[in-house]
């Protein structure tokens, strides 16, 4: 008998868990860790994104302008912390200006405590913008 199974049975005997919970726990031990392919989740890179990259190509007549920005995501964190210091009156003005431009977003919704989760999800984000005439291409992603 494995240590885990014995531990579960001891917990059942001590009345810490009921029979149904014990059955579920034993079932989980027998199944073992599921492979990523079985759960339908693709294997994700473990390294967290560190930089926000903005690459823009602008065609101005015959001239081509390339802009390449690599900003650390720490800058985003610091910026949000700074934004949280904006006085409420100013936040209202910013929010109303955003609404006027069709952005239904409240500045106060971004909080430093939610930022790590946001940044984790930014790793999967890629924004591609193509201009109508093909004279503008912008790509935003994290790496």
């Amino acid at each position: 008998m494995s240590d885990h199974r014995k531990q579960i049975l001891d917990m059942l005997a001590a009345g810490q868990i009921n029979a149904e919970e014990a059955d579920r726990l034993i079932g989980a031990i027998e199944d073992g860790p599921r492979p990523a392919a079985a759960t339908g989740l693709a294997e994700r890179p473990t390294a967290a994104p560190r930089y926000l990259r903005v690459i823009a190509n602008v065609m101005d007549g015959d001239d081509q302008i390339k802009v390449n920005v690599r900003a650390p995501l720490q800058l985003l964190r610091a910026g949000v912390r700074l934004a949280s210091l904006i006085p409420p009156q100013a936040q209202d003005q910013v929010n109303s200006a955003l609404r006027e431009h069709g952005v239904g977003f409240e500045l106060s919704q971004i909080k430093p405590e939610n930022l790590d989760e946001l940044i984790d999800h930014l790793g999967d984000l890629t924004v591609d913008v193509d201009g109508e005439n093909g004279n503008l291409k912008v790509r935003i992603f994290c790496e």
């Binding site: 930089y51 390339k66 920005v69 650390p72 800058l75 610091a78 700074l82 210091l85």
Partner: protein, 89 residues
């Protein structure tokens, strides 16, 4: 840690790609020069913050973090006439 140095690289044109002017910018000297100004500005900042309902120490901490986060930032702009690269260390 606040950024202590930066490099500005300038190239006049893509055709003369071998010529690139590298200008090191000792940011620590900028901070040293700015220190007396900051010392004078700090009491004014401390008095102005409550008027705007901002906690001065939190604001200073956030500004310092913003400054520290600038490290490893790289901005490069290239066109036919010139290209410029700014790298903060």
């Amino acid at each position: 840690m606040i950024p202590l140095a930066a490099v500005v690289a300038f190239r006049p044109g893509l055709s003369s790609s071998n010529v690139r002017l590298w200008i090191p910018v000792p940011l620590f000297l900028v901070w040293l020069l700015a220190l007396p100004v900051l010392v004078v500005a700090l009491p004014i900042f401390y008095l102005a913050c409550p008027a705007r309902r901002v906690i001065p120490f939190r604001a200073l901490w956030a500004l310092l973090q913003l400054l520290c986060a600038l490290r490893t930032t790289r901005v490069s702009i290239e066109s036919r006439e010139a290209s410029i690269l700014v790298h903060i260390f």
